[in-house]
Amino acid sequence: EAEVAQSPRYKITEKSQAVAFWCDPISGHATLYWYRQILGQGPELLVQFQDESVVDDSQLPKDRFSAERLKGVDSTLKIQPAELGDSAMYLCASSPVGQGIYSAGYTFGSGTRLTVV
């Protein structure tokens, strides 16, 4: 079964350092999402890509977070500088575009657990 690949699985970084996460969506999925899941809460969307274009980044803290999907395939999410409050699970998901009424759910990756110390 096709999977959304994420790396690393775990990351510990010091406050003020830079950190990056990588996501490889299911082949052929044009839409890619990055979600942040703080412990004890549901995921919240950070950024959504359609191919290489950003569709929604309204909740992305742009002063420190950046995301790119240069060739419309894999994606990188970067935080610089990291803050203690950034400790969370970062989930990537992908879905086919134009599902119309079929409304299939996304496929999520296993996530990257970030701890900022």
Partner: protein, 115 residues
Amino acid sequence: AQTVTQSQPEMSVQEAETVTLSCTYDTSENNYYLFWYKQPPSRQMILVIRQEAYKQQNATENRFSVNFQKAAKSFSLKISDSQLGDTAMYFCAFRRQGGSEKLVFGKGTKLTVNP
């Protein structure tokens, strides 16, 4: 903006029994989709069941079924014949039809199935 509320932070059930998880949501949209996702301790979010708002018939997937009350904006999940493998966090999620396809999640319910 849409909001999703799960009022039960934690629940437990005995193996083979039935449990119902609650979810309410708030939206001004008429066409939308609702989902229940399961997140086991291994962390990968897995789709359990989905419901299209225009369908009156409640969705079922094997031991999982929903009670969708559109007027009340309620979307509960019933798990029948609970199994140990059902132990997980369960998230209710909303997605509007058209526009941004983002999911709006509730805070989750931690379900423990006891032997």
